[in-house]
């Protein structure tokens, strides 16, 4: 009997160990795998999207905010009234057939229209239609409509149908603005019907951060208005204006025209989405002369009183004959007058004295040919030619801004060095980032380089003040104010030659010259009323400058 008792005990023990082992395998070893499998059977993963951060101007006004909108949906199985489609279509202003087709589907849920406003929602709601419901959503809203649209970019949908920022600030700061989504497991019964219970995975939703720009809203409004008027007045095809604080690199205003409405971006051609101030290249013409001249002054190759020995007539280089813009020539002209008269032959002399190596070196130091790293999506570098591709005529024409391409932001940033004691600052739109809990992180100004000395910057400033007071644009200058600036008229290269009738006109300058508060670049593309910068871009520049000086409360100094 004893051995039978022991055998029974052993069998029971082994069975117990086997069951315990099996339970350990399922509940510990395979636990995670089974948990996921079970979740897929009884639950549905729901993504909870965070609220997108706002973009505010320096006065705290949101130029890109969020508003409540609704998605109207229906359960076709519950819709019995045949007139439902007709009633909804009339309010939504859509084709009845499209609504009828959706309601005819054998589904539990169909979307009828997204992003409808509160009034439309209330109109549908008042009809008390069975089987029709609404889902609250948050959509981008632009209180100033198309203001700063190419600077802002827009919010579209990615391949998963989620909100995503494209172009401009929305694209560049998308991750920061978007925040972090969370997931909820919606529990459902064996038939797949949702039940009133939920289990979260513990990942908390984090709403996006707000961006506070250095952009001054009244100046931005003013710049856009004046640019639009200027384009109409001078019959140009397009135009851009950028205003920057030369001491910090903060963008005060940036406008371009034609533009688009971000909330209706689908209705505009794609080429309007890019900000031309950072994404387009052009030949700068005479506006590059102060950069080249400042380089030559800084290298001590020339002095302001240096006389030009080759300026009595056109300059011949190889097969090319280089002329001044008005075919007027001044024998033994000094460097100050070269800038005042925007003398191309004088700049050929300066470029030749500088040589290819130093020309490339100074252009690089000013940031010409490389990215400015402005916080905007789509900046292009407008690279310089490699050294071995520079022919003597290239060196000569670069001196007066032909055969070289820049982006407007490159030129504005480079020119700012003259206004900022020789220091190039990194341009940026965002001055502060505000998190959801109100914590503000300031973005400090960053020096990109010091291409010229403080002394050279001061000398160049005085030359540029003379250019405004005595140059071609003196007819529009603001009397009493010391403003440093330079006109620019660049011919447009077409199929290997320059079109004499089509130009890109520009004016770049800063004010007040003794303590600059802003540096501004105005560019008009193919103006038809006049083809010179002094007659088109300069009036717009001084018109805007007058209002900015008044807005800042800066009195005349002379």
């Amino acid at each position: 009997m004893n051995w039978r008792y022991r055998l029974t005990f052993l069998i029971l023990l082994l069975t117990f160990i086997a069951i315990t082992g099996r339970l350990f395998y399922w509940q510990v070893v395979k636990a995670q795998e089974l948990y996921v499998l079970a979740q897929s059977q009884y639950g549905r993963l729901i993504k909870v999207m965070p609220l997108r951060g706002e973009i505010k101007t320096s006065d705290g006004f949101p130029i890109a905010a969020n508003k409540i909108s609704y998605l109207v949906f229906a359960n076709p199985r519950e819709v019995k009234d045949k007139k439902t489609a007709e009633k909804i279509a009339a309010i939504l202003k859509v084709d009845i057939a499209s609504i009828s087709a959706k309601l005819a589907l054998d589904r539990l849920w169909v979307s009828l229209k997204s992003t409808i406003d509160t009034q439309t929602k209330e109109s549908i709601e008042s009809l008390n239609l069975p089987g029709v419901g609404f889902e609250e959503k948050s959509t981008r809203f632009y209180p100033e409509a198309s203001m700063s649209s190419q600077m802002l970019g827009f919010v579209g949908k990615n391949e998963l149908g989620e909100d995503k920022g494209y172009f401009g600030l929305e694209g560049y700061y998308d991750r920061l603005l978007r925040g972090r989504e969370s997931y909820i497991v919606g529990v459902q019964d064996a038939l797949g019907r949702p039940i009133l219970s939920k289990a979260t995975d513990g990942v908390r939703k984090i709403d996006g951060s707000n961006l506070i720009l250095s952009v001054d809203r009244p100046i931005q409004f003013l710049v856009e208005k004046k640019l639009k008027e200027g384009i109409e007045t001078y019959g140009a095809t397009s135009g851009v204006v950028g205003v920057m604080n030369p001491k910090t690199g903060e963008i005060i205003a940036m406008a371009s025209f034609p533009t688009f409405v971000p909330s209706e971006y689908q209705n505009y051609p794609e080429d309007l989405y890019k900000n031309p101030f950072v994404s387009s290249i052009y030949e700068p013409g005479s506006t590059i002369k102060p950069i080249v001249m400042a380089g030559a002054l800084d290298a001590h190759i020339i002095k302001p009183e240096t006389k030009c020995p080759i300026c009595s007539g056109p300059v011949v280089i190889g097969d090319y004959e280089l002329h001044t813009w008005n075919d007027k020539y001044y024998k033994d002209i000094n460097m100050i007058d070269v800038i005042i008269h925007s003398d191309n032959t004088g700049m050929v002399y300066v470029a030749q004295k500088l040589g290819v190596d130093k020309m490339i070196s100074y252009l690089n130091k000013f940031g010409i040919g490389s990215l400015t790293y402005i916080d905007s999506q789509g900046e292009i570098p407008a690279s310089l030619k490699p050294k071995n591709a520079w022919y003597p005529v290239d060196l000569a024409t670069t001196g007066f801004g032909q055969g070289i391409s820049v982006t407007p932001i490159q030129l504005l940033t480079a020119f700012s060095a003259i206004a900022n004691n020789g220091k190039v600052m990194q341009p940026h739109f965002v001055s502060q980032v505000e998190s959801l809990d109100g914590e503000v992180a300031k973005i400090p100004p960053k020096v990109l380089g010091t291409p010229i000395s403080e002394q050279t910057a001061k000398v160049m400033t005085e030359i540029l003040v003379s250019a405004v007071n005595k140059g071609e644009a003196q007819w529009v200058r603001l009397k009493g104010y010391r403003i440093a600036g330079k006109t620019g008229t660049a011919s447009i290269p077409v199929k290997g030659h320059y079109d004499p009738s089509k130009t890109i006109t520009s004016f770049i300058g800063f004010a007040p010259a003794e303590n600059p508060k802003f540096v501004m670049l105005v560019i008009l593309d193919k103006p038809t009323v006049a083809i010179y910068g002094a007659e088109t871009a300069a009036p717009i520049f001084f018109d805007i400058a007058r209002d900015i000086l008044s807005y800042y409360g800066i009195p005349p100094s002379e």
């Binding site: 809203f141 209180p143 009493g480 209002d547 005349p556």
Partner: protein, 93 residues
């Protein structure tokens, strides 16, 4: 037997009392759930209302709107006036 009878009555009384307490508490909890739901709905309604008012406020205070209203009312751009360093006649006398 007498002692065990008292014990049975006592236990039964405690059970009945606990059932009554549970019923009362459950009753209270069930109504507070409805109250929480009502408060939740109210909070959501206020949030929606706030967002809508905020939207209206931004639209009304936008420079585009102010400029168009100003134009409607006949306001025009002011003339640029800047005093130079030379003192005005009144100040010189």
């Amino acid at each position: 037997m007498k002692k065990s009878g008292i014990t049975i009555v006592l236990i039964t009384s405690v059970i009945i009392l606990l059932l009554i307490v549970q019923t009362i508490l459950s009753n209270r909890l069930s109504t507070s759930g409805a109250l929480v739901s009502k408060v939740d709905k109210e909070i959501k309604a206020y949030k929606t209302e706030n967002a809508e008012i905020r939207e209206k406020l931004f639209l009304q205070s936008s420079l585009n709107n102010i400029a168009s209203k100003a134009a409607e009312l006949g306001f025009t751009g002011g003339k640029f006036v800047a005093l130079t360093k030379s003192l005005p006649l009144a100040a010189r006398q």
